[in-house]
């Protein structure tokens, strides 16, 4: 879209920059389509009339296959919208916080510890350096949330060592 039409060979691929992101999207969609077909084939066909459970996955797989081709063409032509530079360090930090939260919940550490860990890592990812202050804020806030859920809404959140003290 950004090329000037005045060039002598507008279709020449060298003039357009191949965007690898578009190729990755196309590959992922193609793999997804194959997974759908393989999964649909292991379903026994039991329906007498009309569509069985295996029909819709095939339809979706065909759609995904066509879209893989479409994205491939967009990627080869470099037709993707422009992107600004991204800083992946904070993204990894937040994902680390989420992994910590899942681990704490999985090992029975309880709601308060798990969400406090996520709060502190997210806050740090957004540039805060006062870890101790954030930890205290997080512990107070999540304790209040836990009490509100437990006492007011009577919904149970997972309990760990801290929750048992309350």
């Amino acid at each position: 879209m950004t090329d000037t039409p005045s060039s002598d060979l507008p279709q020449e691929p060298a003039a357009r920059r191949v965007d690898p992101a578009g190729l990755v999207v196309a590959a992922v969609l193609a793999v997804l389509a194959v997974v759908l077909v393989l999964d649909a084939r292991q379903l026994p066909a039991t329906t007498m009339y009309g569509m069985g459970p295996e029909a819709m996955p095939i339809v979706v797989a065909v759609g995904l296959g066509l879209l893989a081709i479409g994205n491939l063409i967009d990627g080869l032509r470099g037709n993707l919208p422009p992107r600004e530079s991204a800083d992946f360090k904070p993204v990894l930090l937040i994902l680390g916080g989420l992994a910590l939260l899942i681990a704490i919940i999985g090992f029975g550490g309880g709601f308060i510890l798990a969400t406090s860990a996520l709060f502190v890592t997210t806050s740090a990812a957004f540039g805060r350096r006062a870890l101790l202050a954030d930890l205290i804020i997080a512990l107070v806030m999540t304790t209040l949330i836990y009490l509100a859920f437990d006492r007011l809404l009577t919904l149970s959140l997972p309990a760990g060592p801290l929750e048992r003290l309350l």
Binding site: A21, V25, L29, L32, L36, D39, T46, T47, Y49, G50, M51, P53, M56, P57, V60, G63, L64, L67, G70, N71, D74, L80, P81, R83, E84, S85, A86, D87, F88, P90, V91, L93, I94, L95, L98, A99, L101, I102, G106, F111, T115, L118, F119, V120, T122, S123, A125, F126, R128, D134, I137, A138, T142, I145, F149, L153, T154, L155, L157, P158
Partner: protein, 499 residues
């Protein structure tokens, strides 16, 4: 006449103290999250779904509707004061509103947005009340093949017709449709795409998907580009009150904005972007003060804001009468209905008139509450914008995971939440629209079961889809809507280039 009686009954439901309280909580929360950058009404409803499943259905739905309307009001405040519109529907408002705020006319800009939203919201809700019974009478005759065709129209218009790229929109939709296939097939009991993981047999939770895409994805995205630019809040200077001149210039813009917003919202066309930009360009053409456009013209705030709110009410028409969500927020509201085992559509009007009409009547009340909440309390909302970004997003993520932990505290479910967060981040970064994923997940299984029902009745004859005139017409519309953007690609498409 029928409508008045029904509406009067609805009003009696809506003014019950508990329902008034739910409406108040809804508009309060809705305005707060509308003002906060980064969380929209769809996410708020998603966050509240797990918390509310033990509450009374009527009250919760009234609260969700209040959030929807409140989010629209709150979004305009953010657009005017910091020029970073929370949702794309507020982009037109930001064009002129932020210039007005910079010129010391932030007060009148906020006022015309709030009063315009009230006028448009009220008129559009009247439209909803009168249009809904007509559509219900019509929809009663719909067979399963007609519903399937209708959903095809919604799929195409939500994903392909009005976005920047039909390929990327359809890609989003098909990701949603794929996710919708996961789990036990309701008609035969076969497990699809579960890969032996027991948690997947129940299918993907709409709330997990929406919270992952909207909350986690947004937080990751904002974190990745924090180094770019700092947002600047314009203080509200000068009087909040509009002058006589402001009123004169606003009222026609409000009405015209409503005329754009309601019909386009009521069609299964998805999104409030189109009517807001249509309204903006119309006001620009009709104004007696063309020199002010681009420098802070009050019509440029009044019209789009009215169009935005009117289309929000319009979206409720297909949602309530046909069970057809055409925006992410409407999809979340449909999930809210489903959580109580309710299916919006003609049957719901017949079986639970108290619930449906109570909801419609409470929209009028919510509008009045929002006018009161927004004009005098604007200073309070502005203070919300001053929450430091690290705490804001850390808090959003705590609330986001809290909903999932409360509903299903399993490692698999939380991993899915994180995975959808990564998906949302990548989709934002590579400019794929998010709403079609949610619509695909929630509407895909319904469309499949309608199609299979239609084919079972016809003993497997696929021609049944073309024999019903309704379904043949709708499929034709879907096909045209699918092909149109490809055909028109070379032509000048409507773009927001008014900067």
């Amino acid at each position: 006449m029928e409508t008045f009686v029904a509406l009067a009954h609805g009003m009696a439901v809506a003014v019950q103290p508990m329902n008034l309280l739910y409406a108040l909580i809804g508009v309060f929360l809705g305005t707060a999250v509308g003002v906060l950058p980064g969380i929209g009404p769809a996410l708020t409803v998603a966050l509240l779904l797990p918390v509310t499943y033990k509450l009374d259905p009527g009250g919760s739905l009234i609260m969700f509707a209040g959030i929807y309307y409140g989010g629209m009001y709150g979004g305009s405040t953010t657009a005017i004061l910091i020029n970073t519109p929370g949702e794309s529907a507020s982009m037109a408002t930001a064009l002129e509103g932020n210039k007005m705020a910079k010129a010391g006319r932030g007060g009148p800009a906020l006022a015309t947005a709030a009063i315009g939203s009230f006028v448009a919201g009220t008129l559009a809700t009247i439209g909803l009340a009168f249009l809904a019974p007509l559509l219900v009478d019509f929809a009663v005759k719909f067979g399963p093949e007609d519903y399937f065709a209708l959903m095809c129209v919604a799929f195409v218009t939500v994903s392909a017709t009005f976005g920047d790229s039909p390929i990327r929109g359809l890609t989003s939709l098909f990701i949603g449709l794929t996710l919708g296939l996961i789990g036990i097939d309701k008609l035969t009991g076969q497990a699809r795409l579960a890969f032996g993981i027991p948690e997947l047999l129940d299918g993907v939770e709409v709330t997990t998907l929406a919270v992952g895409l909207f909350a986690v994805g947004e937080a990751l995205y904002v974190a990745s580009r924090r180094h770019h630019a700092e947002e600047k809040i314009e203080p509200v200077r000068g009087s909040l009150w509009m002058t006589m001149e402001d009123w004169k210039r606003s009222w026609k813009a409000w009405l015209r904005g409503t005329m754009f917003g309601f019909p386009i919202g009521a069609l299964p066309a998805g999104g409030a972007e189109i009517p807001t930009f249509l309204s903006y360009s119309t006001e620009k053409r009709l104004t007696k003060h063309p020199e002010e456009f681009g420098k802070g013209a009050i019509e440029g705030v009044a019209g789009p804001e009215a169009a935005n709110n009117a289309s929000a009410a319009g979206t409720l028409v297909p949602l309530l009468t046909l069970g057809l969500p055409t925006s992410a927020t409407a999809a979340m509201m449909l999930a809210g209905f489903q959580q109580y085992g309710l299916n919006p559509g003609p049957l719901l009007f017949a079986e639970r008139p108290d619930l449906v009409w109570g909801l419609i009547a409470s929209l009028f009340i919510a509008n009045v509450m929002l006018l009161v909440l927004n004009l005098p309390l604007v200073g309070l909302w502005v203070r919300l914008l001053a929450i430091p970004q690290p705490w804001l997003y850390a808090g959003i993520l705590v609330f986001a995971t809290m909903g999932t932990i409360a509903a299903k505290p399993s490692v698999v479910e939380l991993s899915m939440l994180a995975g959808f967060g990564v998906l949302g981040f990548l989709m934002r970064r590579y400019d794929f629209p998010i709403a079609p994923v949610v619509v695909g997940l929630i509407l895909g299984p319904i469309a499949e079961s309608q199609l299979r029902r239609a084919l079972a009745i016809s003993l497997g004859d696929p021609l049944v889809l073309l024999q019903s005139p309704m379904s043949a017409t709708l499929l034709g519309i879907a096909l045209i809507a699918l092909l149109a953007p490809f055909v028109l690609k070379g032509m000048n498409r409507f773009k927001a280039s008014e900067d």
